[in-house]
């Protein structure tokens, strides 16, 4: 177990809405990269691998700005919000194979002050999952954006398994509660009750406003290297015990799946747990990609924390809150901290394992899981542990 790749540096910016970041998308991400370098105790010229998030910058651009003079590994995993966790797999493989010594993975955007989600949709179909399929067979019917695609699955789940709005609300409430313990969470200081949740306007049935992730400005970054190199650094590394990625089938069309709830995670999760030699019940926490509430429930099922159809009952009674059996999204997640494309979930997992989370620290956290979700259900998962 001694030679797993490790996360040796994390960084993030302030997360905000309101006036916005006041920085370019690249500058914002570079700030997070600098923070990650300082956290790791590394110089930019030691970074010889960079994995940008899809469509949010080039490795060349990051290298030129940061001063990475020795870049030799550059790649992007095209899995939307599943990319950061999937990049952990590729970065780990790269450092173990000697393709790079230190791989920097940035992500971030002006998701509030820049292009807000509702505005990006009418633009380039080529940047939408499914591409021409979505253009030719979804858009003509007004099925144009992620909450609508995923609402189709949520509605079917409610029909088959009796999943309720209150159960989706329990997820939103847990994230909001955790955000009250996180000063960098955009929803810090903004309590929410179940009544508030139920009263929030319907966006696309069954999704209300508070089922939907935030639109925020912010960036985060991480640095991956080998266990051997990690030992020479000052900080305490976090080990990548098992990591995997997967795609639903077919990945480019969301309605003709034999199993409508099958996602990339359905394939990836068993592989990640097998590699780690661990099982879901061993996890001290879970940072689950929470673009919408139902996707948390669905991923809890597909990760194996409960059986298919049991997710609704699983999230009740505070089980996913701090102090419960499986604290989920202890930072507040995309729903209540910020939408940093899931990189903030990795940052939070690392902080929990380092014991740096203060009021929201999971006691004696030694091993936890982080997932990613993107496009039409691409999935990724990493099991991380203390060094």
């Amino acid at each position: 177990m001694a030679n797993e790749a490790c996360i040796v540096g994390i960084g993030e910016t302030k997360y905000c809405r309101g006036e916005g970041s006041g920085m370019s998308q690249l500058a914002l991400q570079l700030s997070a990269c600098s923070a990650a370098l300082a956290d790791a105790g590394l110089k930019a010229r030691q970074i010889d691998g960079i994995m940008p998030f899809p469509n949010l910058g080039s490795a060349e651009g990051f290298a030129a700005n940061l001063g990475c003079e020795n870049l030799r590994f550059a790649a992007t995993i095209n899995m939307g919000g599943a990319a950061p966790v999937a990049s952990l797999q590729a970065a780990g493989a790269a450092v173990k194979a000697g393709a790079a010594d230190y791989v920097l993975v940035p992500a971030g955007w002006n998701g509030y002050s820049g292009r807000r989600a509702a505005q990006t949709l009418s633009e380039q179909v080529s940047s939408i999952p499914g591409g021409a399929i979505a253009r030719d067979f979804y858009f003509p019917y007004g099925l144009t954006s992620p909450p609508q695609w995923y609402a189709l699955m949520a509605r079917r789940h409610m029909h088959l398994y009796g999943t309720t709005a209150e159960q989706l609300g329990a997820i939103a409430l847990a994230m909001r509660k955790h955000a009250q313990l996180n000063p960098n969470a955009v929803m810090n200081g903004k309590d929410m009750s179940l009544d508030d949740y139920m009263a929030s306007p319907m966006i696309t049935d069954p999704y209300r406003l508070f089922d939907c992730c935030l639109e925020t400005d912010g960036a985060a970054a991480m640095i991956v290297t080998t266990a051997e190199r990690a030992r020479d650094l000052a900080g305490s590394p976090v080990r990548i015990l098992g990591v995997a990625a997967g795609q639903p089938y077919p990945a480019d069309e969301i309605t003709n799946r034999k199993d409508i709830f099958m996602t990339g995670l359905t394939i990836a999760a068993p592989q990640a747990f097998k590699k780690a030699g661990l099982k879901p019940s061993d996890m001290d926490f879970a940072q689950i990609y929470d673009c919408f509430t139902f996707e948390v429930l669905q991923q809890l099922e597909e990760t194996g924390f409960c059986e298919r159809g049991e997710g609704g009952a699983f999230v009740e009674d505070g089980r996913i809150e701090l102090g419960g059996a499986l604290p989920v999204n202890t930072h507040g997640g995309l729903l209540s901290e910020a939408h940093v494309l899931g990189m903030n979930h990795i940052v939070e997992a690392v902080r929990q394992l380092r014991g740096e989370c203060g009021a929201r620290q999971v006691k004696d956290a030694e091993v936890g899981v982080v997932t990613g979700w993107g496009d039409f259900g691409d999935g990724s998962i990493a099991i991380l542990g203390t060094a």
């Binding site: 021409a132 030719d136 007004g142 954006s145 609508q148 189709l152 029909h159 319907m202 309605t255």
Partner: protein
């Protein structure tokens, strides 16, 4: 109605997609069916993922099926649908087994029920494009 009056997104008439919508314009709902293993498929693909055959034909669908799932878009997330909300994009599963994204035309969003029986109708939204939509039967 002239083209310029219709502001919503339209399919690009290219390749197999053009053939699919070409049949719709003639009032026919057809899907690809593998000549080798008889499997139906949608959306249009070059190859049968069941058996690997590239031989297929456009076969007429019964046009009947049931409502598989739906959402009610209360807040339009695309400017072209601003005046339509609330509207209900839906997924219909045809008797042949294929599913397609569509719209249910004759019932209010609140009356949508999973597994409700539906049948195809054709909506000529422009002179070039006819969209297959569905109406609930047995109401």
């Amino acid at each position: 109605m002239s083209n310029s009056d219709y502001k919503k997104p339209l399919p690009a008439l290219e390749g197999l997609t053009q053939e699919f919508y070409g049949f719709c314009r003639e009032g026919e709902l057809r899907f690809q069916r593998c000549a080798s293993c008889q499997a139906w498929r949608h959306v249009p693909r070059e190859m049968c993922a069941q058996c690997g055959s590239m031989d297929w034909s456009w076969e007429a669908s019964s046009g009947r099926g049931k409502l598989f799932t739906w959402t009610v878009a209360a807040r339009p997330l695309h400017a072209a649908f601003a005046d339509d909300a609330p509207y209900a994009p839906a997924v219909v599963e045809l008797d042949e087994g294929v599913r397609l994204v569509t719209e249910i035309v004759n019932c209010k969003p609140v009356d949508l029920e999973i597994d409700a029986p539906v049948e195809v109708i054709f909506d000529a939204v422009t002179p070039e494009i006819t969209l297959p939509k569905f109406r609930r039967t047995g109401l």
